[in-house]
């Protein structure tokens, strides 16, 4: 099934024409409504008239997460505040969140994109989707929820956590589709297996997103739950989940290209890579009203293919992600930068201790352990004092990162320093 055949199966020429005309309009609108971009364009000596189609895309400036942060909270919005129907936010690297906004039309387009991707995964109005992404400032929960409703399926808005309740609802309400992070899906599958309830569920598909996963995990999940598992990709700055998703052939994720214009660049030279080569994925939004972005650098490494898919769709497809061009980690679906850990630790008493983040996957759930060297100023002759210190660090990190952190005190000088700079992260998960 294809939700919007006109848009998802158009010829390359039709698509580039549509993208070009949308881009021209969008650049005009942004130039006149967003001071940040107007100034940037003026500095670069370009005017809206210089952009006549997607072949002029590389004349436009890039946008980074730092630009959004610098314009916190609403500085990049292109519409009056009264037109903003909703805001979302993602955690920032220095405590300030990255805020994104949507008009009613933006939300309608978002819902359309999610509906396309759900349909790509075989979801119909007959289905009930258990949404286990967080509802709130995070785009995951509400994004998939609105797409589910728009499609006409039934949304079961569970949000995250409380595994036992999730399983009971899944069985009692007869959920047929699970939307969650792949690691949480594994966790649910394991819990079902342990309690002998695997045959009590009606799941047929799972829509997995918000964190990278491997083909091995997909196979494992599909076998264990007897379902088909699909990828959904998105990022709040560009929209949220629904920017791209994969079909039953699993030959890459179809980008909703009529709304998001993709490029792949070399993260060092910022020039486009050769066709099919791996580089950093960059998106220009084509239809977004509230927060239109020029060439937003996702920092996700992938390659693009423009061949028609066996499923009939002609949209550009991105390959499984090959990693990140920055040091961001995704832990239990939450974006974590080592610099957040660093500034949180600095806040404890103004002096940064030596630390090491160890990310692992234990029983299908990600864990973050932070090793902190017990320098003399932290040391005490009483276990109770050291326990207090451990709990205090854990609490500070947890509130800064939004995920549970296990803190382990280690001896001074035991965290490896290489060439004067300590290694800050060990990721034991093999996700790319």
């Amino acid at each position: 099934m294809i939700w919007n055949e006109t848009k998802e199966c158009m010829s390359r020429d039709e698509m580039t024409n549509l993208q070009s005309s949308r881009l021209v309009k969008m650049v005009n609108r942004v130039y006149h409504n967003v001071e940040f971009y107007r100034k940037k364009m003026q500095q670069m000596g370009i005017e809206p008239g210089d952009i006549t189609g997607i072949e002029d895309l590389n004349k436009l400036p890039f946008t980074t997460k730092a630009d959004l942060r610098d314009n916190y909270p609403f500085g990049l919005f292109a519409v009056p505040k009264s037109d903003i129907a909703r805001v979302h936010a993602s955690s920032g690297t220095t405590g300030k969140a990255t805020v994104v906004g949507y008009t009613k039309k933006d939300i309608a387009i978002w819902s359309e994109c999610v509906a396309r991707i759900l349909t790509m995964a075989g979801v119909t109005r007959e289905d009930s989707i258990q949404v286990c992404y967080g509802y709130g400032l995070f785009t995951g929960g509400l994004g998939v929820h609105y797409g589910t409703e728009y499609l006409g399926a039934t949304a079961i808005p569970m949000s995250t956590g409380n595994t036992e309740k999730q399983l009971n609802i899944m069985m009692d309400f007869g959920a047929t589709v699970l939307a969650s992070t792949p690691s949480y899906a594994m966790h649910l599958a394991e819990a079902l297996e342990e309690t002998g309830r695997l045959d009590k569920i009606k799941l047929k598909a799972a829509i997995m997103g918000a964190e990278p996963w491997t083909d091995n995990m997909r196979t494992h999940l599909e076998t264990k739950l007897n379902i088909h598992a699909f990828d959904i990709y998105g990022l709040s700055e560009v929209m949220g989940p629904g920017v791209a998703g994969d079909c039953i052939y699993h030959k890459g994720l179809h980008i909703q290209e009529d709304h998001f214009l993709p490029e792949v660049i070399d993260p060092h030279t910022l020039k486009p890579v050769e066709f099919g080569e791996v580089g950093e994925l960059v998106f220009t939004t084509l239809t977004k009203e509230a927060l239109p972005l020029f060439r937003y650098r996702t920092k996700d490494l992938t390659s693009i293919s423009y061949e028609k898919c066996e499923c009939g769709r002609t949209q550009a497809r991105i390959s499984r992600f090959k990693g990140r061009s920055d040091d961001m980690l995704i832990i239990r679906g939450v974006n974590v930068f080592p610099s957040q850990v660093e500034s949180a630790l600095l806040n404890i008493d103004g002096v940064k201790p030596q630390y090491l983040m160890v990310v692992d996957r234990v029983g299908n759930l990600d864990s973050l352990e932070v090793l902190v060297e017990v320098e003399e100023r932290y040391f005490s002759d009483e276990i109770r004092e050291l326990d207090k210190l451990t709990k205090k660090i854990a609490k500070v990190l947890q509130s800064a990162l939004g995920i549970a952190v296990k803190v382990k005190l280690v001896e001074p000088k035991t965290i490896e320093r290489s060439e004067g700079k300590a290694k800050r992260v060990i990721d034991k998960r093999k996700l790319y």
Binding site: E382, I383, E411
Partner: protein, 143 residues
């Protein structure tokens, strides 16, 4: 009244305790009493040694977190109930024990103790004639 105690932080890893003992041996620091308080992740090694300050310096040199602090070392006779007799006096004043360890030397048994209110304990020791070891006596102990 107070005696110096040497404390060292150590992780629960094979060979850590031994490397501390090696350092102390190489620097001719004698251990008179020792206790290891352990949790699942780490431990605190607490010791009475012949030279606590030097012990701290050499351990720090080797990269360990070490500190010297004041504790009280009570003399207890080898007689049933003598430690509880001392603790009864302190408990009556609402003083609690943070930690303790014991060692025996000749005529006496000895209890190294850290209390919740060390100053108050010092007063009680004076008043009630509780016998304690002095710093000099401890550091010169050898068996």
């Amino acid at each position: 009244m107070f005696v110096k105690q040497l404390c060292v932080f150590l992780e629960n890893r094979a060979g850590r305790l031994n490397s501390i003992l090696d350092i102390l041996r190489d620097n001719e620091i004698n251990i008179i009493a020792v206790s290891l308080a352990d949790t699942s992740e780490y431990g605190i090694l607490r010791m009475m040694v012949s030279d606590a300050q030097k012990g701290k310096a050499v351990l720090k040199e080797a990269g360990f977190s070490a500190m010297v602090n004041d504790v009280i070392c009570i003399k207890v006779s080898h007689k049933t109930g003598s430690l509880s007799k001392v603790l009864d006096i302190l408990l009556a004043e609402n003083i609690s024990v943070e930690y303790m360890y014991a060692f025996a030397n000749g005529k006496y048994a000895s209890a190294v103790m850290k209390f919740s209110q060390p100053e108050k304990v010092a007063e009680l020791i004076e008043k009630d004639g509780i016998e304690v070891w002095s710093s000099e006596e401890i550091t010169s102990m050898s068996f």
